[in-house]
C-alpha cells in the first residue's frame, strides 16, 4: 500500500495539464531524435539539457520533459533500425537483425507496431520493477560508507569497460580520461586550483555538459563529413499500417521473458541497455532453437530485443536513483540532468525528495502510455522525418549544440572546448575506444575521489580500510570479475553481425 500512496503522490506532482503537455512534446521530440540516424538517446538528451535548463523550468517539469525525451528516443531508435537497417543507437542493433528482414518481406508496418508494443511492455514492466525494487535498494544503500561507495564506483567502471567494449585496456583508459578531466578545477578541501595549468577558465572545472555534447553530438558531424551523409535515405517503403493482433498475441511470452532478462541486465551498474537487448535476443534465440528462424525476420526476433532494450533502460534507473551510479550512456546523461537540476541521486533521495522521485516514476508511466498512443497512429509521420537530408540535419544539430552550451555560460572557452571534445570523440570512436566511460568518469570523478578521501581520513591512511566490510569485499570481487570475465567469455558470447544486403 505504501507504493500506491507514493504513486498517488507522484501522479499528483506529475499530472497537471502543463506537465502533460510537456510529456507529449517530449515524447514527440524524443521519437524524432531516436529515429534520426546518427542521433541517439544519449546525444539527443545531451543537447537538450542546456536548453531545458535555460528555459527556467522547475525541477519536476524539466524531469518530465527529459524523461519523455529519453523514453521517446528509446522508442524511436527502432524506426531507423527496421526501415533503414541503421541502428539509431547501440541497443537498437539487435532490432535490425530481424526487423530489417521483416520489413523487406513487406511487413514493415507490422514490425513497427509490434516493436512499439514490445517497447511498451518492456518499459511498463521495468517501471513496475523500479517501483518495487528501488525503495528496498535505497534502504540497503544506507549501509554504504565511503569504502563501499568507492568500490561501487569502481564496479561501474569495470562492468562498463568489461561488457560494453571490445578491448578492456581501451575502456579503462577512457574511464581514466574522464576521471582525470574531473580532477581539474579548484580542490574542495584546500581551495587551491589543481591541474589547471594556470588557465583561469579551468578554475571552475570542465562542465560535463560541454564534454557530453562535444563527444556525442559534435563528433557525429565529423563522421557525416567522412561518409558524405550516405545511408540516410529510405531503404524500405512503408505501406498501410495495421495492428497485427496475431503477432502480438503470439509473442506475449517472449515479451515477458525478454523484459525480465532486460531488467536484470539494466540493474547491473555500468552494463545497461545494450547488454539487455543482446541477452534478451540471445536467450529467445536459444529457446526458439533452429526452427525459430531468428535472423530471417520473425516477429519474436523483433519483440525480444525491443522489450529487453526498453526494460533495461528502466532497470538502469534503479542503481542511478538509489546509488547515484548510472547503468548506461543514456542514464549517465540523465544523471547529468539531475545534477544540473541540483538533485543528488542516492538513498536519501527517496526519503527527502520523495515528490521528485515518485514524480519521475509517474512521468515515466505517463510517457510510456503517451508513446504507445502516439506511435501506432503517427508512425507514418515519423517515417517522413527520416527523409530529412543529412546536409540540413547535421548542421542544425551542431548549431543547436552551440546555442545550448553558449546559453549556459556565454563563454567562447566552453564552445572551443566542446569542439575539442568533438575531435577527441571522433578519434576515440575511430580507434574503437568507448566514449561512455569518459562521460561517466567526468560525472562520477568528484564523488569517487570524495569517497576515497573520506575513507583515507577515517582510517588514517590505511588502505586496508577499503576492504573492511563484507559489502565492500563483495563489490571488489564483482568489479574484478566484471572486468576480467568478458575476456574469456568473448569467444563464447559473440555479438551477431548486422545483416547486410
Amino acid at each position: 500500500m505504501d507504493i500506491l500512496a507514493n504513486l498517488a503522490l507522484g501522479f499528483s506532482v506529475a499530472l497537471s495539464p502543463f506537465t502533460l503537455f510537456l510529456a507529449v512534446c517530449g515524447c514527440f521530440l524524443g521519437t524524432i531524435i531516436g529515429a534520426l540516424p546518427g542521433l541517439g538517446p544519449s546525444n539527443g538528451v545531451a543537447i537538450l539539457i542546456p536548453i531545458a535548463f535555460t528555459l527556467g523550468l522547475d525541477a519536476t517539469s524539466a524531469l518530465v520533459l527529459m524523461t519523455s525525451v529519453y523514453y521517446g528516443a528509446m522508442y524511436g531508435g527502432r524506426i531507423s533500425s527496421i526501415l533503414l537497417n541503421i541502428p539509431g543507437d547501440e541497443p537498437a542493433l539487435m532490432t535490425t537483425l530481424d526487423g530489417y528482414p521483416m520489413a523487406k518481406q513487406g511487413r514493415a508496418g507490422d514490425a513497427l507496431v509490434l516493436s512499439g508494443v514490445a517497447s511498451f511492455v518492456g518499459a511498463l514492466l521495468a517501471t513496475v520493477g523500479l517501483m518495487l525494487l528501488a525503495p528496498t535498494l535505497a534502504r540497503v544503500a544506507f549501509f554504504f560508507g565511503p569504502a563501499e561507495y568507492f568500490a561501487l564506483y569502481l564496479l561501474a567502471f569495470c562492468t562498463l569497460g568489461g561488457m560494453a567494449s571490445n578491448n578492456q585496456a581501451k575502456a579503462a583508459l577512457a574511464a581514466c580520461m574522464g576521471l582525470g578531466i574531473a580532477m581539474i578545477g579548484v580542490d574542495s578541501s584546500s581551495g587551491l586550483p589543481r591541474l589547471t595549468g594556470g588557465n583561469l577558465h579551468l578554475f571552475d572545472g570542465i562542465d560535463f555538459l560541454v564534454a557530453i555534447v562535444g563527444l556525442f553530438a559534435i563528433a557525429e558531424v565529423f563522421f557525416f563529413i567522412e561518409s558524405h551523409g550516405k545511408g540516410s535515405s529510405i531503404g524500405v517503403k512503408l505501406d498501410k499500417v495495421r495492428i497485427p493482433w496475431k503477432d502480438i498475441m503470439a509473442t506475449k511470452w517472449t515479451m515477458l521473458r525478454a523484459s525480465f532478462v532486460g531488467f536484470i541486465a539494466g540493474i547491473l551498474p555500468g552494463a545497461g541497455a545494450s547488454l539487455g537487448s543482446f541477452l534478451a535476443y540471445m536467450s529467445e534465440k536459444s529457446i526458439a532453437g533452429e526452427k525459430g528462424g531468428f535472423g530471417t525476420g520473425v516477429p519474436k526476433g523483433v519483440a525480444a530485443p525491443e522489450a529487453g532494450n526498453n526494460s533495461a533502460a528502466g532497470g538502469a534507473l534503479v542503481p542511478m536513483l538509489t546509488l547515484g551510479v548510472p547503468g548506461s550512456g543514456t542514464t549517465a546523461v540523465l544523471l547529468a540532468l539531475l545534477m544540473t537540476l541540483n538533485i543528488t541521486p542516492g538513498p536519501t533521495l527517496f526519503t527527502e525528495k520523495a515528490d521528485v522521485v515518485w514524480g519521475l516514476i509517474a512521468s515515466l508511466l505517463i510517457a510510456n502510455v503517451v508513446l504507445l498512443l502516439m506511435n501506432v497512429p503517427m508512425v507514418k509521420i515519423f517515417v517522413k522525418i527520416l527523409s530529412v537530408p543529412a546536409w540540413v540535419l547535421l548542421p542544425g544539430v551542431t548549431m543547436i549544440s552551440f546555442v545550448g552550451i553558449y546559453s549556459l555560460s556565454g563563454s567562447y572557452f566552453d564552445l572551443l572546448l566542446m569542439v575539442g571534445f568533438g575531435v577527441l570523440g571522433y578519434i576515440l570512436r575511430k580507434l574503437d575506444v568507448p566514449t561512455v566511460p569518459v562521460i561517466l568518469g567526468i560525472l562520477l570523478g568528484g564523488k569517487m575521489e570524495d569517497a576515497l578521501r573520506r575513507a583515507m581520513t577515517l582510517s588514517d591512511g590505511d588502505p586496508i580500510y577499503l576492504f573492511s566490510s563484507p559489502i565492500a569485499i563483495g563489490l571488489w570481487v564483482a568489479a574484478i570479475a566484471g572486468f576480467v570475465a568478458p575476456m574469456f567469455l568473448r569467444n563464447i558470447l559473440k555479438k551477431p553481425q548486422a545483416v547486410t544486403d
Binding site: 583508459l173 581514466c176 578541501s189 540540413v392 546555442v403 567562447y412
Partner: protein, 162 residues
C-alpha cells in the same frame, strides 16, 4: 596496429605528464599533504598501464579517411572554432549562416542547397530560440569594431591571445 601504437604512446606521454603535474599540486593545512594528490596519481598510474597495454597489444587499424577527407575535417574544425569566437562580437545570425552553410556543403557538396541550409537554419533557429524558447543571451546581430573582431580572432592564435 600502427594507429594503436601511436595512440598508446600519446596517451602514455599524457599520463606521465599528468602524474608529474599531480605531484606538483599545491596543498595546505586544510587538505593535508597527500590527499589532494592521491587520486590524480592513481588515475595517472592506471592510465599509463593501459597505454602500455594498448601499445604492446594493438588492435587492427581502423579505416582512416583519405587525405582529402582529412582536409575537409580540418576545415570543419577551423570553421567551428571561428564560429565559437565570432558568436559574441558578431551576434547569432551572420556567423551561424556561414558555419551551417559550410558544414552543409561539406556533408553534401551542392552549392545551392548549402546556401539554402545555412540561411534557413540560421533564421529558423534564431526565431525558435529567441521567440519560442526565449533564450536570453542570443543577439541577432552586432556591428563590431575592427579591434574587437581582432581581439576575438587572437583567441585562436596560440601565445598571442588571452
Amino acid at each position: 596496429m600502427a594507429s594503436d601504437r601511436i595512440f598508446g604512446l600519446v596517451c602514455l606521454i599524457t599520463a606521465v605528464a599528468y602524474i608529474a603535474a599531480a605531484t606538483q599540486i599545491q596543498t595546505n593545512l586544510f587538505s593535508g599533504e597527500f590527499l589532494p594528490k592521491l587520486f590524480p596519481l592513481m588515475i595517472g598510474g592506471v592510465a599509463a598501464l593501459c597505454s602500455l597495454t594498448i601499445m604492446f597489444r594493438p588492435d587492427p587499424d581502423p579505416d582512416w579517411p583519405v587525405g582529402r577527407t582529412w582536409a575537409a575535417m580540418g576545415v570543419a574544425v577551423l570553421v567551428l572554432c571561428v564560429y565559437a569566437v565570432m558568436i559574441t562580437p558578431l551576434g547569432f545570425i551572420l556567423p551561424t549562416a556561414f558555419a551551417a552553410g559550410i558544414l552543409s556543403y561539406q556533408i553534401s557538396p551542392n552549392v545551392k542547397p548549402a546556401i539554402f541550409a545555412g540561411i534557413g537554419l540560421s533564421l529558423g533557429l534564431f526565431v525558435l530560440f529567441k521567440f519560442a524558447l526565449g533564450l536570453g543571451n542570443i543577439v541577432a546581430y552586432k556591428v563590431p569594431t575592427a579591434a574587437k573582431l581582432w581581439d576575438a580572432l587572437t583567441i585562436l592564435i596560440p601565445f598571442v591571445g588571452h
